[in-house]
Each structure stands twice: as structure tokens, then as C-alpha cells.
Symmetry: C2
DNA sequence: ACTTTTGTTAACCATTTGGTTAAACCATGA
DNA sequence: TCATGGTTTAACCAAATGGTTAACAAAAGT
């Protein structure tokens, strides 16, 4: 019987995750991954056959983790507005914990758009996502948005791009004798919440 | 005397721009650039010495073009609010014309943060940027924002991320039987304008 | 005309890199 | 104890790739 999580396999996945998140599919080096994991390079191929297969494992688990934040949109204990607020919080917390995640996903999705469609399907299937929840709520009259798709894009943008472009914002802030730090994040969060309130109240 | 723009040099730069914008520094291939330009690979080195130097030329010109949008913040014919509105429009138009630009810049800035600081300095020096204009206006009492840095980040995020993550949004939209197209862009623009008005009027 | 400089090419080189192989290692059970 | 099968390693290989070279062509200078 094959062990699901032999120690070596796990070490490889952790090392691969670190390497791929930092350098992407092209930039990552198999030898580096082996070094990080403290094992021989041939073992990578023994366990995962080739670079792409290994990358796929890492990518899929990242994608899954990313979309899992959407779960809150199906939480029956919360009313609709609370769900949207909660989702924004979860996104901000998630990206604050894994700042490289957003850029990593975007880079790889852009690099291989066709392949990505299938993978997103897997993750969307069955789960409520923000957009489908918005369209649903709109149709049922729970909310009355100018354009749900636009609201969706704006909200995701405000939650995500600050982390994607953190290096850019940091440099520009410094050049203007101010800063972009954890306090700013707190205030960004507050501002996003009031954006949500403002938009959902417009009606 | 050296010709500023020998036809060959220009062809190479155009080809390099296309290749680098699509594949980035690592992904781009010198042979591909030569093929695109219809010349021998050795000529790339004859004109630009090596890959990094060639990339630098492309990168710097992209960065310059990006920051040139900020010029409008010094336009004396407009009042402050008009400038901010105008800037949002210029960014949206610019990114709509070169959709790969945003991701390209972010990718390369993240990959080589230290090097980038110097280059951004060159572009910021002397020119008014959105952030400095905001801080300035805030200090002079022209506007009264909760937090100028946060407003800055939110505005840039809403203008930029929709293009960065266009593949992602497109797929998600399709999976929900809606779409993310040029009409959406028009509505996004309107929504950003009302966001600006709302924020600048809060006081 | 002819010499010098600039532009261009095909062939070549060194290194990197993903991937393979054959042998060794090691646990387990007969 | 020793045969078996999964695990691990060092050495190796082929392809890709950035970069160089030497010879040649075209222009420019005299």
C-alpha cells in the first residue's frame, strides 16, 4: 500500500511550494527544490515524474486554498451583507499571510490560460463564489447593484492589488516620506468595508 | 557620428518589446527576438551587448510611459478633482491599449526590487505624482481625506487590477453566464469616477 | 582606388538544466 | 539469512540557450 504522505514526498512539496511561489514555473530550478528539500534531484522525478507535474500539484493546492475563501458566501448564519464583509476580511487576511500568492496565481494563470480554465472549473463546481452569490442576490432583490460584475471586480481589485503591487507602493510611499505598512492595511480594510456598505446601500 | 535610430536597432527594440512583454526577462528567448526582428542573433549582442542590457532598454521605456500618465496632476488648467478624474481616465485608457503592461511591470519590479528603486527615482524626480499631489492638496486643505495613502492605493488598484487579472475575471464571468468586456470597462470607469467623487467629498 | 570602420552572418562554444540510468541502500517478510 | 521491492544516490546525457568568433559585406573616409 502506498503511503499518502511519506516524509520525503511532503518535504519535496514544501520545498517546491517555496521555490515555485518565489520564481514561478520557468524561474524555479529542480536542483534548488532538491537542495531545499535536502534530497537528491532524481527523487523529484521518482515521486513526481517531471517538473510540470510537480508544479501542477503546487499550483492546484494554491488555487484550492485561494478559492476556499469563498466558502463564507454559503454561511447560513450570516446575512448577505455580513457575508460580503466577511469575504473581504478573509481575502485580506489570506493575502497578508501569503503575500506572494496573488502574484503567483495571476502570473501562472496568464501564462497558461487554456489549461487554467479546467482547473478553475474544478474549484468553482458546487461552491458558491462571490460573483454567483452577487448575481443570485441581485436577482432575488436582496441587493440592488448598478452592475454586480463591476462591483465584484472592484472589490476583488481593492483586496488583492495592494499585495500584488506592494513593492511598487512601498517605493512610491517612501519617496513621498510616508509609508505603506500594517497600519495602512488596517485603514484599507476599514475603507473597503465602507465601500461595500456604500455600494450595497445605493439601491 | 552614431545614428540614433538605425533601422536595425529599431527593429530589434520593437521585437524585444513584444517578446519581453509576453514572456518576461526569463521567459524571453534571444533567438525569438532575432527571428521577430528578421536578423541574425549575433546582432542583438552587437547592438545591446547582452540580454539584460536589452531588457533594461525595454523596461525603462515602459516605466517611463507608465509614469508619464501622471503628468496630468500638474495641469494648471484643471482643478484638483478634475485632475484626479483625468488621471483615472488616462490610466484606464493606457492599460486598455497595452493590457500586458501592468502585469509586465509588476512582475519585473517584484523580481528585482532593489534595481527598480533607482529606476523609479529617475521617473519620479521632478514630476508630480498622484500621491505627492494628494499629500500636497491634503496639507493645503484642498481636500480632506481619511488617509491619502489608502485612497491612492485603492484608486490605483481599481484602475489596474482589472487588467492584470483579466484572464481570471473572464473565466469566472463565463462560468456565471455573464461577461467581462468593453461595456464592463465603461461601467467600471463610471463607478471609479463616483468613487473618486464620494471620497473627495467626504471631508 | 584603397583603406578603415561599421554592419551582418554562419558556425561554434560553454554552461545550465530537465531528465535518465544503473547501481547501492535498506526495510520487511519468508 | 537472504531474497524482494521500494527508496535513494552519483554519474551521466541531450537539448536549449546566452554568448563569442572569424570571416565577409557594405559604407564612409582619404
Amino acid at each position: 500500500m502506498k503511503l499518502i504522505d511519506s516524509s520525503t514526498e511532503h518535504k519535496i512539496l514544501e520545498a517546491a511550494k517555496t521555490e515555485f511561489l518565489e520564481f514561478g514555473l520557468y524561474g524555479a530550478r529542480m536542483q534548488n527544490i532538491a537542495n531545499r528539500a535536502g534530497i537528491n534531484k532524481a527523487l523529484l522525478h521518482y515521486y513526481f515524474r517531471n517538473k510540470e507535474k510537480l508544479f501542477d500539484k503546487v499550483f492546484e493546492s494554491a488555487l484550492e486554498r485561494y478559492f476556499s475563501n469563498m466558502d463564507i458566501m454559503s454561511d447560513d448564519r450570516l446575512d448577505f451583507k455580513e457575508r460580503v464583509h466577511g469575504l473581504a476580511d478573509r481575502f485580506l487576511d489570506f493575502l497578508n499571510e501569503y503575500p506572494q500568492m496573488a502574484l503567483f496565481l495571476i502570473k501562472e494563470v496568464s501564462a497558461n490560460q487554456i489549461l487554467f480554465i479546467e482547473k478553475v472549473d474544478k474549484n468553482l463546481r458546487g461552491n458558491k463564489t462571490l460573483l454567483s452569490a452577487l448575481l443570485d442576490a441581485q436577482q432575488k432583490g436582496v441587493v440592488s447593484l448598478e452592475n454586480p460584475m463591476v462591483f465584484f471586480v472592484q472589490l476583488i481589485s481593492m483586496c488583492t492589488y495592494p499585495f500584488v503591487a506592494k513593492p511598487l507602493f512601498t517605493v512610491i510611499a517612501e519617496r513621498n516620506e510616508t509609508s505603506w505598512n500594517s497600519d495602512s492595511l488596517t485603514e484599507l480594510r476599514a475603507s473597503i468595508h465602507s465601500f461595500i456598505d456604500h455600494q450595497l446601500n445605493l439601491a
